[in-house]
Amino acid sequence: MTTPAAIPDLLPTAPGAGGAGAPTRQSPIANRKSQDPLWVRVTLTALALGCMTVLVIVPVVSVFYEALSDGLGTYWKTLTADPDTRHSVLLTLTVAPLAVLCNLVFGVAAAWAITRFRFRGRTLLVTLIDVPFSVSPVVAGLMFVILFGLQGFFGPWLRANGLQVLFTVPGLVLATTFVTLPFVARELIPVMEAIGPDEELAALSLGASGRQIFWRVTLPNIKWGLLYGIILCNARAMGEFGAVYVVSGRVAGETCTMPLQVEMLFNEFNTPGAFALASVLTMLAVVTLLLKVWVEGRKKQDSPQRHESHTKEHKEE
């Protein structure tokens, strides 16, 4: 779990409630700051910024410093010369999008079922979606070893049919998908709950088919929330370590994703190589942050105005 989407109020009504770093918080707070004496303000700000510097800024700067310490040329060579490293980049660029795609389809289906219908076990379903957040990635990987390993449940059958899941791309995708399963659904459920079904019902009443309702009404309304979920899901999928560590077998040049390759290089005492690759992952993280801030802005613009009287008659029902 790597996101505030994991905040456990199950169906917050406000879109993106808990949904991170909104930089627009001025009005009532501005006149409250004067309540604290100057020395308190300065001390606390300095302490907070100090913590942030030591915890976040110094590490990020040091990644690039270490990676580039021998100059740009060496950096580029370190990064591109090793075929295993090149392969790990390609592998991550394959596995992560596949996992995101699976969870995207799942997230939309789950959010549609949960926010547009009432059925028994609905709360249980919402809880179930959160389960991967509380399972250690290593345990997640282990579960798939149990299922598909040679001593496992389906392992012998798979082997008899010449199929293999562990130590292959499908295994990596499976493990990554499990770990990142909640992201899109957790982002979409509150968004769709807040928008409510009225526009879809209006479209239905105007004669639209299910497909027309989804593509023309639902999707345009949720697109920023969806994109936000995809960004978070993708960041986690690319960085996933524990689960893929267990299912991959760590065969360099075959099943090592970028984070695994970083560890591999680190264990081989190839520190420049490890930092060069780590710097690429860090850049991806920074890009993720920028995208996130941008999408948050758009999402806020799109979020529905809440009507207090909206559910007047039906609230009691």
Partner: protein
């Protein structure tokens, strides 16, 4: 009306069956397989697997480090959230965005960097190691990296609560003669408690299962700096006939423990919300 009470809109069957099949394949069946495999061990075998000296040391370290890191995260997170919401300073928006970096940064990178920063000739280690503070390949290293991963949870749960805080309650307290510190302790902190506990719980849960960053920084010495997740992996890699069942047994303990802790903390949180 905000809720569809009936299945008027299309796609119920399609979406619900897809959701259920997907969850079964990815969550229910694998979890069930894990439990069944652990259950295949006899009680004595199970006990022998999960209650070795090495395993006990690993549990103690995992829980202790996660707990300590979550507590530190709560303090750091409160401080950062407070400053970000209440005060103005240059670069505030950048700092606000940077809080999310630990969410976005792969844990392996975090581990790599932290292990490098705190060694004797590292950027921070050069000052700390002479003072006897070993921030790498030690238990402290594990706590440090878990704080890095955990504090954003606290910041992000507290920010909306702090923003929504009733200014009038604080003003009333001040008018009634409370000092700023008394106001904070008696008025503000109780209001923040549910959010703080939630953030703490999230950081703790994350810390319990964390693997990627810890393997880099801890040194993974059995009995000293080996966490439970690492023990599972090394059991798995031993390749003895029963070793993966033993790994599963330890995993089950970890699973049950983290579910239990979450329930306990949810209760605590519910109580503080009522109070």
């Amino acid at each position: 009306m905000a809720q569809a009470n009936t299945r008027v809109l299309p796609g119920y069957r399609l979406s619900i069956s897809f959701t259920l099949v997907y969850l079964s394949v990815l969550v229910i069946i694998p979890l069930g397989a894990c439990v069944i495999t652990a259950a295949q061990l006899s009680w004595d075998q199970f006990r022998a697997a999960v209650w070795t000296e090495r395993a006990r040391a690993a549990y103690a370290l995992t829980f202790g480090a996660a707990l300590l890191a979550a507590a530190i995260s709560a303090v750091v997170g409160l401080l950062v959230a407070w400053v970000l919401v209440r005060y103005e300073f240059p670069g505030k928006r950048v700092f606000d965005a940077l809080v999310d970096l630990p969410f976005a940064l792969p844990t392996a990178v975090a581990g790599l960097v932290f292990s490098n920063l705190y060694v004797a000739n590292g950027w921070l280690g050069q000052f700390l190691v002479p003072l006897g503070i070993e921030g790498s390949y030690s238990r402290l290293a594990i706590v440090l990296v878990l704080v890095f991963i955990g504090f954003p949870f606290v910041v992000r749960t507290l920010q909306p609560v702090l923003e929504a805080l009733d200014a009038e309650a604080e003003e009333a307290a001040a008018l009634l003669g409370a000092s700023r510190w008394q106001t904070f302790r008696r008025v503000i902190l109780p209001a923040l408690m549910p959010g703080l506990l939630t953030g703490f719980a999230l950081a703790f849960a994350r810390g319990l299962g964390e693997y990627g960053s810890v393997v880099f920084v801890s040194g993974n010495m059995p009995l000293k700096t080996e966490i439970a997740a690492f023990l599972i992996v090394s059991r798995l890699e031993e390749g003895r006939p029963n070793s993966y069942r033993e790994a599963t047994a330890i995993a089950t303990v970890l699973l049950v423990a983290s579910f239990l802790m979450l329930i306990v903390i949810n209760r605590l949180e519910a109580r503080s919300r009522r109070g």
